[in-house]
Symmetry: D2
Subunit: 102 residues, 4 copies
């Protein structure tokens, strides 16, 4: 399944760059396919491995802030082709007959 | 932690009442404190028990639809008082000096 | 349409009660049907009136914090019955044959 | 402000590629800076222009489906640098000392 998540520490400063960098580093080391976006991180995998990874990132941020708000969106389509993290947009570009900004 | 979630089956009809009823029944039987809202379900508990419950609801809906989109929002504040599922709004009502519509 | 929203100020303290109280007061005065939940506020109305109201709440919080994250979920079903803010859960309770915790 | 949104038609088939393509085409023609991701579209702009654009996309999908669920996340940081749609990730990459997958 495809899973998008973002983690917001509350009760600290307004800059979230350090927390995002650390979480992205944890995602990168997990070996799961991922994409970083200006608003979130998207990973592809099975429920348990994905949720374990997000839990780890959530704990890391919680170690630095008194309160954390984490948002997760899951798009689960078992009959979909593998590699949906790339094929979803590729199929949209095919329909449009051109590339989109990624 | 407080966790809000909603599960949307895709590729079926436009009415989601049956799926929502089934998921709420599963939540109710879990024994975790919960609130049903017109847009989602909110539960209070630890990461593992809450995520296991949402996973179960997600699987149940996935058994009836080819694609499922599940959204989860977590508000984690370890130093907060227990029973935040009721105390958060109670504290807001105290500030306002009146009840709000729930 | 039914619209759920939450507004999180970033770069302030960890308690959000004051901001939530102020936003709920603004919602209450708008006259639109609403429900407060432990995680968000739900309102029913047309696009323009709902978005104007959320914009007003967003601006109020932005006046007190250097950064604000606002999340909005819209469930738009034009052929649905009026008063979905109450009828959605009522229809679920009818299916279950019992009341749910609200 | 940075705004991420996704639009899900309900009561149609399980493939959403046509709707996503059409919405991305509308976004592309708006002239606002945007990024397409496997889970959503991200745009940068002021409240009114961004919300008008999302409303237009929402209406287009609603013309083809009996029910539509649209989710919007806003990250508003007035003192932030312009061009946050590119600078946010650039600042994370600087912290990490390497590029991330985009």
């Amino acid at each position: 399944m495809l899973v998008e998540f973002s983690i917001i520490p509350i009760g600290k400063g307004e800059s979230l760059g350090d927390e995002i960098a650390k979480a992205l580093d944890t995602v990168d080391k997990s070996g799961l396919p991922y994409r970083a976006t200006p608003m979130s991180t998207i990973i592809e995998g099975e429920w348990d491995e994905v949720m374990d990874l997000i839990n780890r990132c959530h704990r890391e941020v919680l170690a630095t802030a008194p309160r954390v708000v984490t948002t997760i969106s899951i798009d689960d389509r078992p009959s979909g082709p593998p590699g949906r993290i790339t094929s979803k947009l590729a199929s949209v570009e095919e329909r449009l007959g051109r590339e989109v900004r990624k």
